[in-house]
Structures are given as C-alpha cells and as structure tokens.
Symmetry: D4
Subunit: 225 residues, 8 copies
C-alpha cells in the first residue's frame, strides 16, 4: 500500500508505546495512510503536529478510505487519535500533572496532555501560574505533591520547573517553549534555564516538544519494571 | 558557626533528598563546615566535585573538628560522604542502571553511581559500550530491560541514549560529557544530540552533571507517591 | 546570449563532473538559459533546487527556446536534467547507497539519488531506518556491506551515520537535514553529531545538501585515478 | 608622571561618580600610579579586580610612593579604596539591597557591596537564598520591600531576580555570574534568563560585573535629579 | 467567564503596577476578555503587541461585550488601553526620557512611551540622534540632564546608551532593537554592545521590549520606597 | 587484566580497521594496557594524542610489562604504534596526499600522515601552500592529480580545500585546525568554510582530527568492495 | 514638513558623503519625504533597499510632490537616486573594482556598484569568478592590479577576497552575502572566512551590505587628505 | 636549510609587502630560521606574537647563527624586526593614525603601530579616549581629520570606531580586542558592534589582530596604483 514508510510495529513490545506519526512534514494522504496502517495492526494510532486544515483533509481521507473508523481530533493539541477497535478502554493509571507557566504556553502543554492521556495515563492540568506571582503555584501545593511525575511547560525565563522541583519529591520534566522576546532565542533561553536548574530533579526535553515530554512521563508514570 | 551559608535543612521533607554540597568553588574549610552541619542535623552529608587534593584537606579538617565521624572518600567520583550515625543502613531499592559510552566518560558516570548509591538506590554500571560497535550494548539487553531507570553518559556524538531508549520501556536520562574534539564544543554537541533523540523517552541533564542525573534517577526510582 | 554568467565549461576535464546550476536564487529564464548553454557544450546539464512552479516555467521556456531538447523533471528531487544528445547512455558504475533515516528526510535523500544517478553512478535507496528501531537498519547488513560508498541523510539526532560506519568498511557521507524540533537548530544539531561521530569513517557535508553529498560520492565511487 | 593613561577627571561633575580603575589587565605599578593620581585630584579612588597577590604589590608600591595615604583592601571583593583625605565621611544614603543566590555567587556580590558602599550608599546583603528552597527568600519579604533598589547575583538558572521582581515594587538589577555546569556557558545562561524575566522590573548587567551593578544601583538610589 | 487565564490581580499591591496583556500569541477574543476582566477589577488594563488588524477585532469585541467602556488605541505603539472608570487622572510624575537612535527604532520606542505614560509617568521623546552625527545628541544635553531615568532604543551598533550614560547622572536603560544588517543578528549585536557599555550606569532589557523598558523606568521614576 | 575497557576486537572484520586508542583523557598505564591487549590479539595497535611526557611513561610501562615488544613513537604526530609481530609488512597501497596550508597546521597534518601510513596506505605530504600565494599550490598540480584521495589541513580561513577540489577529480577531505586569531573560534570558522566549499567534492571532519581524516582516507583509498 | 526624522545635513562637510536613506523599514511616503528634503539641501539623495513595489510608490509620490525632479531607479540595486540639480556631473575619479563570486551574489554587488558610482567613483564589475574555477579570476589579473580598491562579494565559503588579496597590492573589502546552504548561517560563515583571511589586506563589512562596502571604498578611493 | 617552510618570497612584487612570521605557534628556532631566510632575500623580516621569553631565545639563536645582523625587539608590540642591510631607510609616507579606546587595548594597538612603522608608514598614536568621556576624542579632531587612514582598537562595547567614522572623511579600520567582562565573549561583542557601525566608512579586521589592521592601513595609505 505504501512503500515510503517502514513502520516499527514491534515498538510496543520493546518500549511499551507505539510509534507516533510526526505530522509536520507529511501530506494529509501520507498521514492518513500511516495512521490506518498502525490502526490495522491493533495499536493505538496517533499523529501530532496536524494543523486544523490538514486535520480536516486527513479526516476526509480516512472517511473515504476506512469508513467505519472513529478518529478523534484534539484541536487544541493539533493531534489525531484512533483507538484500537475491540479494546475496552482501561482505567487511566498513576498521575501525570501538566503545568503551563503562561497562557501562551498552552498549545504545547495541550499536546503533552493529549498524548499522555491517549497512552492511558491519568492526567491533570494547571494553567497560568508563572513565577511573577508565586502565590499562584504555591496555592496548588497539594496537587503538586500528589503527582507521580510533573511536566512544566514554560517559555521566556523558563524558571518554573526549578521552583516546582524545589517543592516536591516527584521528577519534573522541563518543557521549554518558543514563547518570548528576541533574547529568548526561540526557546533556547528557557531550555538553558531548565538545564541549569539549581533545584535537582529536573529533566529537559526539546523545545515545544509536548509529545516528547508526554512519552517520557508515560515511562516514569508506568513505573516499570 | 558559619554565616556564609544558609542550609535548606527542610529539603528532605519536601523533596525526599538532602541538600548536597557542590565543592567546586568552595574552600576545604567551607566544605568541612557545611558537611559537618548537615551531618549533625541527622541527614546524609555529601559533597561532589572535591578533587584529590581538596579531599585530603577536608578529611584532615574533619578529623580535627569532628574526630569520631567516619567520612568516605569516593576517589573516582570525587565525592565525600558521611552517613547518618545511628542509622542501620537500609537495603538499596529499585534498580538504577548507569552506562558509560566510552572510557573517557567514566568519571562522570562514577559521580552518578556514587550519588545514587549514597541515596539508597540499587545501582549497577555498564562500561565502554559506544555505538561504534553495536554488539556491545546489544549483549546487555537483559540488564537494560531489568532497570527501572537508565542513565547514559556519553560525549562526542552522544548517540547512545537514543539507541538505548529504542530498546527498553524505562525512562532514559541522557548525561552529556565534555569529551571530544573541537566541534563537540565542550559537551554542547552531545547535549543537542540527546535533546533531539529520535527515540522518545529520553530526558537530558546538564553537561558532566553526574550528580543531577543521579538525583533525577533517585526520584524516578523511588516512584513516589 | 547572456552576460550574467561565466560558465566553467572546463570543469569536467579538471574534476570529472560538469558545473551544476543551483536554482534557488535564480529566475526560470536564467535557469533555462544556463541549462541550454551547458547542453550545447555537449555536457550533461543539471539544475537543483527548482521547485514545482519554477520547473514548469523553465520547461515552458526551454520548449520555446530549444524545441527538440528533452528535459527530465525529477519532481521528488526538485531537479531538472538534460542528457547529452548523441550519447549512448553508459552502464551505471560502482555502487552508491543512499539511506534516509526518516520519512521527512526523503526530499534531501532524493536529491542525492537523482544527482548521483545523473552522473552515471549505480544508486540504490533504503528508507526510514532510524535508530529508534535498530533492527530496521540491521536487516539491511548485506546491502550496506555491498556498497562502495554510503550517503546517510538524517535530521534530529543525526546518529545514523555513526551507527552505519561501525558496521561497514566503506566511507560514509553524513548528510544532515533541517528536520526536527527547536533544539535541532535547523540542522546544526545533526551536523554536529555527524562531525563528532564516534565511529571513524564518516565525512560530513552541508545541511540539506543532497547535491554535495552526491558529488562527493561520485568522486569516491569512480575511484580515480 | 604617566602618559599611558588619560583620566576622565571631569566625570563626577557629569555623572556623579568618579572613574574606577579596572585592575584585571594592568600591572601593580600602573594601578598604583592611577589610584594616586585620582586621589590627588580629590576624588575617591577605587580599583576593582585586584587579586590578593597584586593587591599586596600595589599596597607596597603606594606605601613607597605616597607614604601617608591610607589604602583599604577589601579582600573578599578584590577591591582597593582610597578615600578623599580631608572629607568627613557623610552618612550613607537610601537603601541598596544585594542578594546572592548561592555561596558561589558571593565574590561577585561582594564586589557590588564594596563599590556601592564606597560611593556612599547604605547597603545590606542577604546570602544563599536560591529558589530551590523558596521559603528562604520569602522569609526576607520585609527587607526586600524596604529597599529602594535590589541587586540579585545568581549563576546557574539565574531565576532569582524574576522571583524577587514579582514580590517588590523596587527596580531589580540582575547580575549573572559564571557559576555552573557546562550548559551555563560561563554565565550566558543566567544572563539570558534574566533578560527574559517574566516579571517586569528587571534590568541586566554584564556577567560577574558586580562593579557595573553597583554603579547602576548608585544612580537609581541617589534618585537624581 | 474564562478559565484559560489566571490573572494576578494582587500584583499592583505587591509591585505597584498591574499585569499587562502580551497580545502577540493571543486571539482577539482572548485579549478582549482579559482586558475587560482587568478593567472590572478597577485596575488600568493594557495590551501590548496588538497589531492593527487584531486591534480592530478587539475593539469590535469590546464594543459588543462591554458597550460603555472607552478603549484607547495607540496605533504607533500597537497598544490598547482602558483607564479605570471613576478615576480622576492624576498628574504624571517625575521625568522619563525616551530616545530613539534612528527612525527605524521608533516603533519600539513608541511602545515604551505609551506604556510609561499609561502608568502615570511624565514622558518625553527625542528621535533620530544616532552617534554617526554626535552633535545631534549633544544638542539635547539639557533635556538629558533633566531626566530622572532615560530609555535609549537603538539597533545596529547599539552604541548610543553608553554615549548617553557618559553624559548624565541618571540611570540609562538600554533597549536593543532588531534593526540592522545580517550581523546585527536580529538584535543580539546591540544587546551585547549595551551589556558591554564602557560607561557605567547602563541596564539592559530584552530585544524590542519597549514594554519591559517602560516597566523598569516606572519603578525607578516612582523612586519608592 | 583490565575491566575498565571493553575492546571491540571484532572491528577489523566489520570495518577493515582496528580500534585506535584516544590517548587524551587516559593515563599512561591505561594506554599501555590497552595497546598491549590489542597487540596480543594480533592487530596493529595505535594510540593518538599521546604527548611527549606521557609517551615516555607509556614506553617505560610497556618495556616493563612486555619486554620484547617494539613500540614506535611518532613524536611529531604524538602517536604510538605497535605493529603485528609475525607479519611481513605489505607494500603500501593507493595514494593518499596530505596537504598542510600553513606551518602551524603541521602537527594536525602529521597525525593524519602517521595514522594513514600505519594502516598501510601510501602517503605523501605537501606543506605550507596556503592561498595567500596561489602559485605554491598550483606548482604541485601533477601531484594533486595523481592522488586517489586528498586531505587538506587548514586553519584561519580554511579556504584551501575548496581551491584544491576545483583542480582535481579525487575526493577532498577538509581537516579544519584550531589555528587563528579570535574570530577563528578555535577552528569553527575554517570548519564552516569547508562545509560551505563552493567547489563540490569536499567532505569535512572534526577540528584538529587528523586521525579521523586518515581513517576516512583509508576507507576511500582501499576502494572496497 | 516631517518631524519623524532629524537629518544630518552637515555630514558631507565632516565625512565627504551625504546621509543615505535606508529604505528597508520605511514607508514609501517617508522615503519620498526624506529624499526630497536631502535633495532640496543641494546634496545628492540616495535611498537603498527599496524593492520594486515600493520604488514605484516612491516615484509616484515624488512625481506628485515634486513634479520637476528627475529620479533614477536602479532596479538591480534596489536604489533610488536624485542628483543635485544645477550640478554639471564631474568626471568619475580613481578606480573601484567590484567582483561578485557567483551569480547569486549579484544583487549585493549591484548595490555596491550603484552607490559607489552615485558618489562619483569610477567603478567596474567582474562577475561569476568563484574559486571553484581559479582560471576565471586569474584571467583578470590586469584589471585586478589596476584598481585602487577592490570590493569582493561572496557567499558560501567566502574565500574569494583572500585569493584576490594575495594577488594585488590594493586594499580588498570583503562583502559577505547570505547565499548558501544551512551551514552558511545566512552569511555568518563567509563573514568569518573573510575575517580570518590568511592573506593580509582584507577588510570586512556587514552581511549583504553593498552600501557599506561602497561607502568605505569611496573613502579609500578619494584618498584624502 | 629548512624544509618545514615554503616562503612566498615573491609576495612583495605582487602585494607590496613581505610575508610576516606569525610567531604564536612556532618555536624560537623556527622563528630565527625563517627571519634569517627572509632577511637574506633582501626583504624586511618581521615576526609578530613573540612573547618576552621567546624573543630572548630568538635573539640568542640569531646572535649565534647570524652574528652581524641587527635585530630590533619591540617589547610592547611583541614583535621582532630585521631591516634590510644595505638600504638607506626612506622617509615614512602618508599618515596612519592609531587610536586605543582604553589602556587595556594598548598591546593590540602597539602591534598595529610597530607593524605599520616597519613597513614605512608615518604613524601616530592617541590613547585612552573611550566614549564614556566624549570630550577626550573630540579634543583630537584636528589630528583625526589630518590622517589618511585611522585604526581604532577597542574592546568591550567597541563603539569608538563608529564615533570616529562620523567625524572624519578617512576610512576607519575597526580593530576589536578581547578586553571585557563575560558578555564581551572574548572580543566577539566589539567585533559585532564594529560590523554594525551606524556610521559608514568602517572596515573590520580580526580580534586582537593589530598586524592585520596595520597591513590593511599600509595598503590604503600607500594609495596605489
């Protein structure tokens, strides 16, 4: 059916999670084809970085190609999802907390939420609690301490992950975003801040990579072996 | 006794681990004083980045200042450790695996091992399994899959963490080292490689920061709450 | 006919290959004119970086200007080609293997394939064999070991060339692509990875420069003198 | 007496503060000569970046050259100071607060303290209150809110100035230090963090430039015109 | 009404100024909602980085949602402003001087002027006085020396703040702009120049961040406590 | 005998060349041990980056540990070599030409020469033919055109590889060196020049990495399969 | 007439050349106004970086505002020029040679030619003589040696200025362009190459700054005092 | 006599100046040998970057090797010079003005002075006239306007060359130095400032490269052809 792709269908066995389609550089037709192939293998099929226009095209393509298949479109996260058909959805496990420092960081945080939930984790979100007003994050101490792993999305100074890591015992995943004025260097500045966090317990993933943060959180939250 | 330091003795309660002394910019006298203060508070006292010469001076200082206290010197890790006195040492928990890509990455890996062990984790080490000879890492698949969290120290191309993350379900902590020719940019190159790992599940810490990798691994391995 | 260009028609004698037109900053009219001039000198005429729209315009221009001339349009590689008229096409020589790490790297790999084939090399392509699933590249060991020179296109962590170089005795040309999240820095990250490859035998060319990789592979594959 | 230097003795009239000698690239003899020339003009004479060895040599040189002159050596700040002879020392004015995030930032903070005090400002210091333990800085809220201008010296993540600026109405001067692991890039990382502070009211000066922070604080604290 | 935002309405009490909406990454509807919420809390409501098109949409939205509210549109500064309703506008205080080095720096300077004025400061502007013709800035010496704080917006070489700081006793806020040829690196070059100003008394804010410069100037100009 | 190292003794079978010891970060004892282990496996044993002092210590160590073994010390190349004992040295094959642009580039070029010769290639060297005097390189056209592969070591502007590639049909390996004034950025500048060579046919290796250039040249020169 | 601009009409007296309008960030109306003001002062009026569309608008504006004034539009150089009315055009003086390395560098070279000619210099142009075919530049040795000052525009490796400087006694102005693949870093790579030119006698100006190269060449060519 | 060097003795004929020895990476013996070879060819022999210790060794070597030859040691410029024997020294020509912004820039300025004088130019020096006190440079207007070419050495903000270029009609050579705090980036900051000089007429050479500035000034000052 398609020879441009060489799917790693063995991945769930090795790593616990399926291959996820990175939609940014692909056509709607390519995305539809790959999603459908993953779906037919019995795995959950996800595509990230599918903007509104392209999502519409993929949905149309799949409606034609695979009429009965239910595709979820997470618009805020720019993600498409097809759940395995015959599967009774299991209860979500553990507790992943996603925090966005500012309103502008929300799209990146939303990708993290959507991916982590799709993989079966229990996820909650705290928004707009940047360090310019410390009382905002401090008012959530109980929720912070109840999480098994915390993802903190932040642009500009990127300081929130270190503040959070100083308050809890769970691992904190710093998720730098490309939000900010010129010297934020499209996310390099918050990335560096997080790598240099003076509070230990902070891991860092790539800029605007909500997907990567969620995949890592999933591994930590599942707690295997 | 000393007013130059403002210890955060409440940290274990909040984060599960004590403050650790960063020895690099401090005098032997300062390190001895702080270690002893932490020790007297009943917590485990650790100092990293204490080179051979300075370690000797700290040991002498402590022998004079606090004669009965047993100080362990981990020479390969450049670390000093004073265990809480009355405590019967608990069994180490979980499983932290530390991997060094090459022989030159060993000192950084050793710091990770020493810190993680001091904090009560069960730790093991695999050495010299860089990707130039893939069979070396592949021969350890069982040990890789038995770990709850894996730290991979690598300089130069920094590619090993991504290879490992593609083989296991556990979270992988990429620990870039400053080993390499000029274009390794003192560790920036492997740091970037790890941030861009095409296999999901990789978190990254600062360059040569074995301490930070261990603190993060400890949080993941303990699996709280 | 045109005074804006000063063609180096002596180049094949000195270097074995003709001048190739870099289409990116040129108008369709300029490209058509230069291609035709090279063609009339009896050499093979190639233009890279000619997007779909511009290619159409060049084809129209050439159809008008030089009616009988057959122009091939390699759409996936964004390349135009006019073969020398009277020449019986020789058998392709040697063996150049092009590998793309991911689907998003394909356009760059395609440019390398098209240029290398146009110059008379025997070329084959392996796609979508990134290191997140090592078994994919390992399943091609025989083809890897049969090649005289291997081009490996990879973005993100750029780790595949080093893995390949550890498996074969042939020279490996690392071809970094600009694919990836923010910290890939538009290809700088995989470029650095390849320069720091811990497996010896890797050479590196410019980012997204499939043309340059092919020209180098051609020199190696011809094996002169 | 010396023709290698062209002092700007008019500076106090224009800017309110004298020229200060940057000792780093100068010989002890040069420093002694310049200090003495400034002193003879009736202004306060300061030299920064004079390490212990060089300070001793300058003191010896001045003892020989200008026997009666009293030179103060601020060892922690690596600064030399000669106060104007006939002047009755005025009361210090306003309130400059200097904060050091960690013990390793103290030498830079000490330079800021020494320079600001020498210029006639009332200065106080808070040490070792990094954001890994927020309660430390929060316990000083009253002192923070009583200051007219606050200098915050921090290396590593450089996040403390933004936290402080969110708590007070006074201007905050971010003073990045070169303390940290590799990705701190010798102070570039905290410098960027401070430039991107999400709390408004933060100004930034050069790395390790305690002198510059103090000169700026002096201008703000004097509140002219 | 809206749960995507978590306003810090306590900020004026702590820092003397309200939260300001950064319009760049937000929709017109979001901006309208947040402005109106701030307005209803009795504080001044400002939104920066609202381009002409978006401003029109926000104005329409507010006209529908909150018919009686007067919204000012500062087109040159891309700013929207709603003043507190019942408040008799106080006299502006102190003296903030904004200087733009060249005509291309004007939009950034205009943002600084509009924000500083909205916060109640007395503000004046001097334009187009770059150092290529020193007589231009020197002809304004009296105005320079009458200001309590000076903001200097400059791109390209970014040298004007240092020149100004050498002429006055007031603090100088360097505001780098992204104006210039390639090696200006979108504002990094003037940012570095200002950080390295050889005349003391210069503080630096982020690139093109007229808002941040004004917020800092406001703190200095108010002169509290 | 030693458990700190995990030699890849299978490498010659896979890649045609043995593992080579990178001496920079290792002790004399470690180097001696590894060299001897490689030697006993019947392969050629090489160690690069062994400075004069360390070389002496390794020689002493080996004289004690393995009395009969002949170790060659290439002082100019900072390399140690132990040839397989029973082997009748084969004739060197092919033709590798090494060129150094300036006298300061010689140590790097010497490493390339020594490694390439040790691996059995026929190697020759042309020195001090930088582009400031083009006649120097042009006077060697015959030797340039007789080589199967050419290594060009150059610092500063790094322009020589492109000039050479425009004159010959053989592949050219650009070997940037860290020679030059400040803006050479320790070799980054010539590295970039070579990556951007306007003449096709240039591959680039890491800064000062004569070893890597030689390993690549060896693969090309052997011309397998 | 316009208060947004503060022209430096004294500049010719001080520096020998008038202020030139940088059109990039300005509206057509602004450009027309400033050009006309300079023209009325009796000086030559030039505007650079005026693209085709904007040029048309400026011409229309000037036709309406100042009907009799003759405006020249140099389309290839994106420049507008109004010569002083009553002036009999003097003979061009000296000899400025402009060289473009490749066809893609022509627009930048054209700006240099147009500005230098407008200022009264005798200018000639050599095109498409990059170092990939050295015979091209060598065939112009006589013209090279007859010039009083040479501007060399080059992107990619930026090596041509050094080659030229090694052949002549005149000063060479390196003019880096933003032409090239990713690692050319938008002109940073050729800029660095030129700063590191191993042949002395090369000066460097900003990326794509044909205007700046011409202004400098004009100063050198006039040879004052 | 020596085969490690390939002198370009034809250079004076082509470029008007001899090859100059860059002493930094060479041994005293190498420098002595090359200087003597140049001297014997009848040209002026210069070596730069010869520190005090190495200079002594070269002088001893030359005293032994070539007893009658007079070698001048310019200690402040770290330069050695042997003038052609039989030549009656010609009058220096033209007027090269060297300016150092601060005392710390003097060693770099001194190299420029020494090289320019050795090549036969009339040279004068103005010291310590940084822009923090503009009156200092303005007091030298007559000397500035009398120069044919001006070299301005400056570290930190590097702003002085632009100020000078706005005052004179002669070409200005910006010579950045590595003097400054951390964000000066070892001279990169002033280098960028000079490349972005808002006053036209500034050329830039490499960091701390007084030699290069002098060689360029020599070409401009001689005014050929």
């Amino acid at each position: 059916m398609s020879d441009f792709v060489n799917l790693d269908l063995d991945r769930p066995r090795r790593t616990g999670t399926p291959e996820v389609v990175y939609g940014a550089g692909k056509t709607a037709a390519q995305i539809a084809t790959i999603l459908y192939r993953i779906h037919r293998s019995g795995q959950i099929a996800l595509a990230t970085r599918v903007d509104a226009l392209k999502a519409e095209a993929v949905l149309a393509e799949l409606a034609a190609q695979a009429p009965g298949v239910a595709v979820r479109h997470h618009a805020d996260a720019a993600m498409l999802e097809i759940r395995p058909e015959a599967e009774a959805r299991a209860e979500p496990v553990g507790s992943v907390l996603v925090i966005s420092a500012g309103t502008s960081d929300l799209p990146v945080a939303a990708e993290a939420v959507a991916v982590a939930e799709a993989l079966g984790n229990r996820v909650s979100l705290i928004q707009d609690v940047g360090i310019a007003g410390l009382h905002r994050i401090l008012s959530h101490l109980d929720r912070l301490r109840a999480a098994r792993v915390i993802i903190v999305a932040a642009g500009m100074d990127g300081a929130l992950p270190a503040v959070v890591a100083g308050l809890v015992a769970a691992p904190v995943i710093g998720l730098p975003t490309s939000v900010g004025y010129g010297a934020a260097l499209n996310g390099i500045a918050p990335l560096l801040t997080m790598l240099n966090a003076c509070a230990p317990g902070v891991a860092v993933v790539n800029i605007d990579n909500g997907f990567g943060a969620a995949m890592l959180a999933d591994r930590i939250n599942r707690g295997l072996p």
